[in-house]
Amino acid sequence: MQRRDFLKLLSVFPFLNPSNALSIESNTKRKYLILIELKGGNDGLNTVIPYKDPLYYENRPTLQIPVDKVLKINSELGLNPALPALKKLYQDDDLSIIQNVGYNSPNKSHFTSLDIWESASRDKEANGWLYELFKKNPSNNLIDAMVFSGSTGLFEGSSPNFLKVKNLNNFLKRSKSLKIPNYLLSDPTQKHLLDSIKLIKKVALRLENELNLDEIKHIKKERVGISDQLMQVSSLMQSNVSIPVFKVSINNFDTHANQSDIHKKNLTELNNSLDKFIKNLKFNGLWNDALIMTYSEFGRRILENGSKGTDHGEASCMFCMGGKVKGGIHGKLPDLLNNNGNVATKIDFKEVYATLQNEWFKVDKRIIKNTPLNFL
């Protein structure tokens, strides 16, 4: 059944999902960017595996993925066996893999490198690049972003316009009793609290009226897993709430020791939650409105260390997924010979940002000057 037919059916039986049926028109106009942070530095070489390169096996005596396990996507590259849903996406031409992404003279500190990715700048005081982008291009969006887990640096600035929420049910329930201070707060930190409370009240009020909680009613716990975080994103998208960016994060990619098990567990979590999320988006006709992107502060060293792990490295790979994504691979095979034991950067992450800015958000005032890639 086509999406259109399904919606027709809904309008005949509006009690099935009335809020959805009413919002078909505007739904097609919205665009959502869903960011997945792989926290700790994801090992690109064991995510997208150059399975024909003998140097890969030489450098990874214990961590190599056996060639018969690799989910091959072409004659040279394959995905980690924990990522079957991504292989399917690739076959559907909905997954773009960007290779060797990083930046010049990379910093190997988690925190500094993440700062650089988030602000698209080496200036430690710089604001998040998405904060700057939305500030320069004002819109009627309810808020710039909703962050479900991980760092919020992309959206931080002097007057931030995002919310961090773990559990929407609890958020709506508990924000009711929150009071807006009725006296003057002059100190910048105090003003920040005041502004945050105002933002909470504003968003809670809108969501109260617009959010369809059916699919996420069951989420009661304080600790919400990645899959349920994405289900909440889907509910917000279905309710046509004007929030252009959502962010979630998966921890434990800092695999200095016993990488195999941990990395497999992380990628399985990524694979399964994406699989469920994407099926849900497709079912609800939102796949063309969604752009999902993974990123990590750095990749890992080519040569594994002695603890069956890998130390901090340089470039890594990124995944971009969505109905509008042009599937394929950007960039060449990682060079495992030169560059001092690290995967050298061939694509600046700002080229990826430029693509989002120019081809997804299509803003008037650009802040990233790099030439975009052509995955959209």
């Binding site: 006296y183 003057l184 100190d187 930190t189 005041l194 945050s196 909470i200 603890s307 130390d311």
Partner: protein, 456 residues
């Protein structure tokens, strides 16, 4: 508006003798967690700022925990090293020990926080825990408990001793995979974070080569359960000639610590972190340099540095008041003095602290809790409120009489300052006497849930 202006007038005209006024006392109290409520309420005006700082610093000197430390089954831990037991059996023992004993540690610390009268020491222990951040999930619980005692013994002592003891305790070695770092199989994890987060701060004062060589210096160490210390295996140690900070030799753990302590950035970085804890998020560079020099000259005496920080013009300046955000720990420590809640309900406290973003023994990552403005986001604002509400709900009939004695001692207005700095809403009734439990709770809520209680 006129009323508001006059409050500013009263509270912010500095007195030349620097005898404490009520707003000074609240400032000092809320940043150090000094727990002697009688002093705060009755004697503050008899002291100068410097005297009060001295009193507080003395109060924070080492005192042993008042609650009983958890005990562990040593035999089970020793079994982990035994050759007679299979790998699977060991894994099972380890899983069990981690689960049980992690909880024991966490319960103990929360109980200690609620029972201790040495709030300033407790605050410094939390500070060092966040600084030398390690997560309990990767560490044997007895080591982590011992690390906590190291923080206690050295919280206002010598940073040299502190660093030395922390680096000989297995906690951060296990957390950052250094127990696997050997000559043949180097692992850089601890070496990098030691420089970046524990001592010198990230920047150009060390290179990638320094990190690699630091890893060599830290190689060959293993943890020894009977002493709860790291020991050296000469066989596994990298004995090559190495260069760190332009000095070359065959370095080991103790030489590495010495090199780090000789580096001027170490005192700068520690001074910066203490400044952020006590004064403001954006330090003045000039003053920071002079404090850091003083810290270095004092042979890394933390007490000297903290005394200078609390006595500095910047600490007392009007612009640096109520501009820091209380951590969830601060919220509990400062309510504790007001609420007189006994240590019964630690389980609920543990969960509420966790939801508010500060799960003790489990900082978010090796960078600890970033604190400051980061305590304010939509998720945490809501959880912080819940933390206080749950805590107030622990006020029972049994506490009531005790609480009222304390409250009656205080004049109403003096009591207000626990929660409210410069902005006193006219409509809050602070008379606590002769009131029912329910209305008492409501009144406590009106004070503690006032937004200004979030700041210190």
């Amino acid at each position: 508006m006129k009323i508001f202006v006059s409050y500013i007038f009263i509270f912010f005209i500095p007195t030349f003798t620097h005898a404490l006024i009520i707003e000074d006392t609240r400032h000092l109290w809320s940043r150090t967690g000094f727990s002697n409520a009688d002093f705060i309420l009755n004697n503050y005006s008899e002291h100068t700022r410097e005297e009060a700082v001295n009193l507080i610093i003395d109060s924070g000197s080492y005192s042993a925990p008042v609650t009983k430390l958890p005990e562990f089954d040593d035999n089970l831990y020793l079994k982990l090293k035994s050759k007679a037991i299979s790998k699977n059996e060991k894994r099972e023992i380890l899983r069990l020990l981690r689960k049980q004993d992690k909880k024991k540690n966490s319960n103990w610390w929360h109980r200690e926080i609620l029972s201790s009268n040495n709030a300033f020491q407790e605050k410094m222990v939390v500070f060092w825990h966040s600084h030398f951040a390690a997560k309990a999930s990767k560490v044997l619980p007895p080591y982590m408990l011992e690390q906590n005692q190291i923080f206690r013994r050295n919280s206002l002592g010598s940073f040299k001793n502190l660093l030395y003891e922390v680096m000989h305790n297995p906690t951060i070695h296990q957390f950052l995979d250094n127990t696997k770092n050997t000559a043949k199989k180097p692992n850089e994890n601890l070496a990098r974070e030691l420089l970046e987060l524990y001592t010198m701060g990230e920047g150009e004062h060390y290179s990638e080569k320094d990190v690699k060589n630091m890893a060599k210096a830290l190689s060959g160490l293993y943890h020894d359960y009977s002493t709860k210390k790291m020991k050296l295996s000469h066989k596994r140690k990298d004995s090559s000639y190495m260069t760190i900070f332009n000095k070359s030799a065959t370095f080991g753990l103790d030489e590495a610590i010495k090199l780090i302590l000789e580096h001027p950035n170490t005192s700068k970085f520690i001074t910066l972190k203490l400044w952020r804890e006590f004064i403001s998020e954006d330090p003045s560079v000039q003053k920071l340099n002079s404090l850091s020099k003083l810290f270095n000259d004092s042979n890394y005496d933390i007490k000297t540095l903290v005394f200078e920080i609390l006595n500095s013009e910047e600490f007392w300046s009007a612009k640096n008041r109520n501009n820091l955000v209380k951590s969830p720990f601060d919220l509990i420590a400062s309510s504790k003095i007001i609420l007189h809640i006994p240590s019964s309900s630690i389980f609920s406290l543990r969960n509420q602290m966790k939801n508010s973003g500060q799960k003790l023994f489990d900082p978010p990552d090796v960078n600890g809790w970033l604190g400051g403005r980061r305590w304010i986001n939509s998720d945490l604002i809501i959880s912080r409120k819940r933390l206080l509400v749950k805590y107030i709900e622990k006020v029972t009939k049994n506490n009531l009489s005790e609480l009222q004695v304390a409250i009656d001692k205080a004049e109403n207005k003096k009591y207000q300052f626990f929660a409210i700095g410069k902005n006193i809403p006219e409509n809050i009734d602070i008379k606590f006497s002769n009131t029912s439990l329910k209305s008492l709770r409501n009144k406590l809520k009106s004070v503690l849930l006032d937004h200004s209680f979030n700041f210190k």
